[in-house]
Every structure is written in C-alpha cells, then in structure tokens.
Amino acid sequence: MSIGHALLGLLEGGPRHGYDLKRAYDERFGHDRPLHYGQVYSTLSRLLKNGLVSEAGVEAGDGPERKRYAITDAGVTDVERWLGTPEKPEPYLQNTLYAKVVLALLSGRSATEVLDTQRSAHLTTMRDLTKRKVDGDLADQLICDFALFHLEADLRWLELTAARLDRLAQEVRK
C-alpha cells in the first residue's frame, strides 16, 4: 500500500496536520498495522519536497506547533493517476508450499501431512477473521473478506494438490 497516496487521498477532504492524518489513516486502513509518527512525517516531507502538498499554516496549541498540510493541484493529479492505475496481480510463482510438497515427496516424508498442517493453519486464521467480521462493521467485513477470499484460494490449491499427490510423486521421483 502506498502510504503517500493514501495520505494525499485523505488530504483531499481538506488541510490537516500530521497527527490528525495518522489518526484518520489508522482508523480506515491501519487495523493491524497502525502508522508510526516517523513514517507520517517522513512521508509528508517527501510529498512537500515533490510539490504534492504545501504547508497551510501552523496551529498554535499548548504543545509543540503543529503544521497543517494541504494537497496541491499536482497532488490531486497524482492521486487520480494512482486510483486509475491497476495494482499488479501477484503471479505467486515462487510458492514455498509447492517447494515443501515436492521436498516432502523427494525425501519420502508425508506430503499429505504437509498439506493437512497448512490447511489447519489456514482455517484457524480464517476462523479468526470470520469472528472479527461477524463482530465488526462494514469496513471490517470488507477488509476481512478480502483476506478470506485469498486464503480460500490457497485452500483450493491445497485440496487440488492433495488430489494430485500420487501423480506428482511419480513425476518428482523420475
């Protein structure tokens, strides 16, 4: 996830200071991975250097002065370009699980055991996500569903591989 673009997108709603931006980001996208303050300020200074945000005054308070940032026209164009560019689909060709299955077969160990252990771990994670989804709001549901569909795809692969183990064993032992 491009943090810079996410912050720019949040700034389209109006100028904000760094702390405010971090809170908005964490609330919407942070979930398990909230931003560090350092990340926020280093990202903002990069965006400033590249002319995608500008300083929009300083908010005085009891604590340290807080700079407010506003998105520039160049920033808006950059967000638009980012939203319109598809994310690269992952090819997933360097699959550790495939390597484990092949190595288990080559060494005479149980590949079924490898697959079953993985299936169980996947389902445990899927159960946790399902609980979180059931107890959560629509944002939680969508975020968890994204992960659940990907984990389900892995499980379908595990199932298919389990059904093809005999053939795979013959091929790798040739």
Partner: protein, 224 residues
C-alpha cells in the same frame, strides 16, 4: 464428553466404498465442519451419524444410546425430537406456506396448530424472514428459502443440527448471511452443528474441522 460419536463406519453402495473406517466425535454445542472433496464420503458420513442411512458396519452413539442398534421407528422418532436438518435444496414442502413448513415438525410431534404456528412465527422473525410467512417456498428467493429451512430445523429445539452444503445454491452474500444466522441461532440455543461443506469460507464459521478423504475421516478430536 461427546454428544455424538461414530466409530469405524463402513458403507458401500454396490461396488463403491463410500466410507472405509470413518470416525467422528461431536461435543454438545460445538460446530464441526466436515470437509473434503466431492465423492470423499462426507455426505454419507453425515447421513450415517444422523440416522438417515444405516452403515454396513461400525457404531454410532448419541449420548448413551446406540443409533446403529435402534429400529427404524426409534431412529425416526429420535430424528424428529433431537435432530434438525438443513440441506442444499428441496427440503420444504411446496404445497405448504413457509409458516406451515416451519410449524410442521411440531405438528408431527402432536403440538396444537396455534402453539406450533406461534413458535414458527418467532423463528421466522429471528431469521429475518417473517415477511414470507404466508408465501409458498416456490415464491421465495433461494436465500429466504434457506432461512425458512433453518427456522424449521430449529423450531423443535434440537440438540444437533445436520447441515449438508446449506449454502451450496446461494451467492456469496446470501451464503454469508445464512451461515451467520445459522451459527448464531445454534449458539444461542446450545445446539451442536455438523456442517458438511467443501467451501473453506463456510467452514470458517465452525469451531473445528474434520477432513474426509477416501471414505476416512481425519478427526483430531477423535483420539481424545
């Protein structure tokens, strides 16, 4: 302490061996997903432990009673009083309204029409389908029909609900809703659920899974 326990079940259909030594245990109130590829024997396992099919050999115990040594009549009585069923489709009586369908198991147990229909109304409301009470199953959507079927499975207060691919004919959104309602209702009433599914996202609503492969069930709880 197990509520339901099957040991070393064998079942063949002609030359096809559907179960070859399958075992499974279900504790009171737990939701167990039975998973496995098509043809692995998972539905046959469900039918055997629910007393719908008699295995060729092996034992199924429900509490301290042995299902496999009961007469057809005793098994049928047990299914009506203690078990509830939800299948993929074709389970509601098309000539009856949804309300009458849900009230049917209670009517068969001798409950008065009014009492049975009041209980049925409550369950239809809990499953958010009270709006279709007076419609016939053919006039409802797939998701609504499945919720009516769940209401019917729960109306008698069963100890175990057997669900065979309950979301198999539904789209993702309706499937999720049906699973959420089914598992929430089961947890509220303390009913155990044996859920046959090949979909991992559906199985993720369970407490644990049992994998059936080539007629054998891999149940990690079974050894305990």
């Amino acid at each position: 302490m197990s509520l339901l326990r099957a040991e070393d079940l064998h079942k063949s259909f002609g030359k096809t061996h559907a179960l070859e030594g399958a075992g499974l245990t279900v504790r009171a109130g737990e939701i167990v997903a039975v998973m496995g590829p098509s043809g692995s024997g998972k539905s046959t396992l469900l039918h055997c432990i629910a007393g719908i099919l008699a295995p060729d050999s092996g034992v199924v115990r429900y509490g301290d009673r042995e299902l496999t040594s009961m007469t057809d009549r005793e098994r049928s009585e047990l299914r009506r009083t203690d078990f509830g069923f939800v299948f993929q489709f074709g389970q509601l009586v098309p000539e009856l309204t949804c309300l009458e369908n849900v009230a049917l198991p209670m009517r068969l147990s001798g409950v008065k029409r009014k009492d049975a229909e009041n209980a049925a109304k409550d369950w239809l409301a809990k499953l958010e389908v009270d709006g279709v009470a007076d419609q016939r199953p053919g006039e409802t959507s797939g998701g609504q029909g499945q919720r009516v079927a769940i209401a019917r499975a729960l109306v008698t207060g069963p100890k175990v609900i057997f669900a065979d691919e309950p979301t198999g004919a539904l789209d993702s959104l309706n499937g999720e809703r049906v699973m959420h309602l089914l598992t929430t209702a089961a947890r509220e009433t303390g009913a155990a659920v044996v859920l046959v599914t090949h979909e991992a996202r559906v199985a993720a609503y369970s407490d644990r899974e049992v994998v059936v492969r080539d007629g054998k069930a891999r149940d990690v709880e079974f050894a305990r």
